[in-house]
């Protein structure tokens, strides 16, 4: 080729990316069970995460039944109720959302989107999944252990987490902490893969600024997670020491049933700091991949380039950095120095700036776009609306004076379910509808998909809008039942019944979704290699579903960014990333 200049980048010789030697599976077991292929690992992660997520979904029905019809279900006592809310929260946040976004979508999409044959450390990647599965099994085991799972709330605050009044004090809390420790070890193995693959295994021409925002989101979230999960690890190990070995890291002197326990001097506040130093970045570990994925869904289904790509990248990085300096806004009522509260309120509100930039850019991407209301697009749109809703109540709660009266009420529950429950879950659904054709070669049924969308979307609002109101009335969270509190009007009871009906309906819609997943695997419409006419590399594979090694003989070469939709003068309304520019007149 002749020496040509490329825009501001200058004349640059093609960098050779060495092809890697792949491990080739020899038996069925090494191909589908102990597989080192990131795509198989991704499916294993996703199925495990969705299965344990189903357990958490059922738990949420039980929680809702208790709240609507207090004490009419003999199977749910106060202890069981606390166990259900604890397990529901922990499973949804860690074992479903984190595992599915990073382990599931990360494994499937990173190598395909950056044009790699596989992750850089496939063996470690395989071990990562099996350690995660072990963590899930240990967690499930706590349901069957004597005394049941822990009922300490998903925040596991000491001292109550390991006092005898809390359900699951015998085995539940030990298994929970062990499971978390395993999860973090497994995640670290996977996380090293995701980061180093993005850094080192990009194909020729795939500069960082040509990466789809999905990869940016998953990459940044992984970096956040790698630095934040150690805090949960440290907290879990020390709490385990307190519980099993009788140390007093977190346990103050406690009198229980008239007996002085052997603990003394420990600092429960120390645990809160450690927990939230992980806990707040965790919100962004879940949100940032969702930001990335939703950007790609909107751009593809509105046939328009993403508005402000550079701003989107910078905002993701800024959010990642800021997420480490806001953790104490979860601790305004912990007796912290008020000046700290002021500092953390400020940093919390500053995060609204990059986040708002992202929302503007999504909306401006839609502006005058050729919007196709496909199921992935519907979910992406619902994400924007829901995220804005949840984000606005976040501005309320970020301010100390507003947070103090609302702390530990149902308002907080409604807020975080909107912003980090429903919003990321909508993206997960959208992403599954979007990439299912690539994973299986078949489309998901659209009728069932639209039914699933409308019930889930409207249902989510029927559940959480009234819940904000109940919280404003002052109804506290985590209470087994309210009894005859004077400040809770009778209408709140009626609202609770309404919310429960909505929750059960939404739950039913998820069964339709599961049916669709399985039914379409066999009966779905064949998808072809690029049903959404998308530009990114995963849609340009020689085979669908992509074969072992992803790319056949030659790795793809990238010539352009990921958002060339509706290019004037182009033959089709999109240009794939691996298509070079037409030869310019000399």
């Amino acid at each position: 080729m002749v020496d040509v200049t490329i825009g501001p980048a200058g004349a640059i010789q093609p960098a050779e990316v060495k092809d890697v030697e792949l491990y080739h599976a020899k038996s069925w077991v090494t191909k589908y069970v102990f597989s080192q292929d990131a795509k198989v690992i991704a499916i294993q992660y996703s199925i495990t995460a969705l299965s344990i997520g189903l357990v958490a979904l059922v738990l949420s029905w039980l929680i809702r039944l208790q709240l609507a019809f207090p004490s009419s279900l003999s199977a749910i006592g106060p202890g069981e109720y606390l166990q259900f809310i604890t397990m529901h929260g922990m499973i949804m946040v860690i074992y479903l959302l984190t595992a599915l976004f990073l382990g599931g979508f990360g494994n499937y999409l990173i190598p395909l989107m950056v044009g790699a044959r596989d992750m850089v450390f496939p063996y470690v990647n395989m071990v990562s999944y099996w350690v995660y599965l072990l963590a899930v099994l240990v967690l499930v085991a706590s349901f069957f252990a004597p005394g049941g799972p822990t009922g300490s709330g998903w925040t596991l605050y000491p001292p109550q987490a390991i006092l005898s009044g809390t359900p699951g004090r015998e085995w539940g809390i030990i298994l929970m902490l062990a499971s978390l420790i395993l999860f973090i070890i497994g995640f670290t193995m996977g996380g090293l893969n995701y980061v180093v693959t993005v850094l080192q295994a990009r194909t020729r021409g795939m500069t960082l600024m040509r990466m789809p925002l999905t990869v940016w989101g998953i990459f940044t979230a992984t970096v956040i997670a790698l630095l934040a999960f150690p805090a949960l690890f440290v907290g879990s190990v020390m709490l385990l020491f307190d519980r099993i070995l009788g140390t007093s890291f977190f346990m103050p002197a406690v009198v229980e049933m008239g007996q002085h326990l052997k603990y003394r001097g420990g600092s429960p506040l120390l645990f809160q700091h450690l927990f939230w130093f992980f806990g707040h970045p965790e919100v962004y570990i879940v949100a940032v991949p969702a930001f990335g994925i939703v950007s790609d869904l909107i751009s593809t289904h509105a046939r328009k380039n993403i508005f402000g790509y550079r701003m989107m990248v910078w905002a993701i990085i800024a959010i990642g950095a800021l997420s480490f300096v806001v953790w104490a806004h979860h601790m305004y009522v912990s007796g912290m120095n008020p000046y700290f509260g002021f500092f953390f309120a400020t940093t919390t509100l500053i995060i609204a700036i990059p986040t708002a930039i992202k929302v503007y850019n999504w909306v401006l991407t839609l502006w005058r776009g050729d919007i196709h209301l496909t199921v992935p697009m519907l979910f992406a749109l619902s994400f924007i609306v829901t995220f804005v809703n949840g984000g606005l109540t976040g501005l309320f709660l970020g301010n100390v004076v507003v947070d103090v009266p609302l702390s530990d009420t149902m308002f907080v529950v409604a807020h975080f379910h909107m912003v980090m429950g429903m919003a990321p879950i909508f993206v997960i659904f959208g992403a599954i509808y979007h990439w299912y054709p690539k994973v299986t070669g078949r489309m998901l049924n659209e009728m069932l998909g639209k039914f699933h969308f409308w019930v889930t979307f409207l249902g989510a609002y029927a559940i959480y809008f009234p819940m904000h109101y109940i919280g404003l009335l002052g109804v506290p969270r985590r209470y087994f039942e309210m009894g005859d509190m004077a400040f809770v009007p009778r209408s709140a009871t009626a609202l609770n019944i309404f919310i429960t009906m909505a929750a059960l309906t939404v739950g039913f819609a998820q069964m339709v979704f599961l049916f669709n997943l399985i039914w379409s695997l066999f009966k779905g419409k064949p998808a072809g290699s690029n049903p959404w006419r998308a530009t990114t590399l995963e849609w340009q594979t020689p085979e669908t579903p992509p074969g072992h090694g992803n790319w056949g003989k030659e790795l793809p070469v990238v010539y352009r960014w990921a958002y060339d939709y509706s290019v004037p003068g182009a033959k089709e309304d999109f240009v794939p990333q691996n298509q070079p520019a037409v030869a310019r007149a000399a």
Binding site: V196, M209, L245
Partner: protein, 235 residues
């Protein structure tokens, strides 16, 4: 949380910021369409993936220990804290760990110069010294236990066992990697095939040595006194 975690996150953040500054984040990708053969450099490092992987892992380990040390400083401020004396044996262990690091450095230099016998000697010596260190740490635990400094007796003791234990586990993991490398040397691999492994082992060993020096200085009583003085100066 104390300032410690920020002290560790700041250098990590600085490395990330430096790396990002090299990545042309201000470029306008929508204007930069290449014709056939026009392929810009991806900006990937020329270092092998395993080296980058180890670097990222060390960042994670740094974060882990920074958080442990933050917790240590926070818990120290409660009145029931009673610093225990560090056993004399720790000085011997520290010396052994330094020797272990030196031996691996020797192996690394030998690998770079292509001397396979030097690699083997260095790996064996490094492994044995590291093993001696771990045994020495267990003996130190035993001595403390015999002297009545039980794990649950005081948070200072608990932190001593916790910090040394987590450090020891990381070194044990390193020994597994070292064993695999040594196994390759035994089975007659070429020096080119083991050079990277030896180099990464050496880097990991130096990191764990530096980490141990930090922990050792924190666990000896004079640091507690020093921290008290600092706090008085600051408040």
């Amino acid at each position: 949380m104390s300032i410690t975690i920020l002290l560790v996150l700041a250098p990590i953040g600085a490395i990330v910021a430096w790396w990002l500054s090299q990545q042309r984040l201000t470029s306008k990708p929508w204007l930069e369409v290449g014709a056939i053969g026009e392929v810009p450099d991806t900006g990937a490092s020329s270092l092998p993936a395993a080296t980058i992987g180890l670097g990222v892992f060390l960042a994670v380990v740094s974060s882990l220990f920074a958080l442990l040390i933050s917790a240590y400083f926070m818990r120290m401020q409660v009145a029931d804290w009673a610093q225990m004396p560090a056993p004399k044996l720790l000085w011997f262990n520290t010396g052994v760990l330094i020797l272990s690091s030196v031996a691996l450095q020797y192996a690394q230099v030998a690998a770079r110069r292509g001397r396979m016998d030097g690699v083997a000697d260095g790996l064996i010596a490094g492994g044995l010294f590291a093993f001696t260190f771990l045994v020495g740490q267990l003996l130190a635990w035993q001595q403390l236990n015999a002297a009545g400094y039980f794990l649950a007796a005081n948070p200072a003791n608990a932190f001593f066992y916790l910090l040394t234990g987590v450090h020891g586990l990381h070194l044990s993991g390193g020994l597994v990697a070292l064993g695999r490398t040594a196994d390759k040397v035994w089975r007659g691999f070429e020096v080119n095939q083991v050079r990277l492994s030896v180099q990464l082992c050496a880097v990991y060993w130096h990191f764990l040595l530096a980490l141990w020096l930090v922990l050792f200085s924190l666990l000896t009583p004079w640091v507690g006194d020093f921290a008290v003085i600092c706090r008085q100066l600051l408040t």
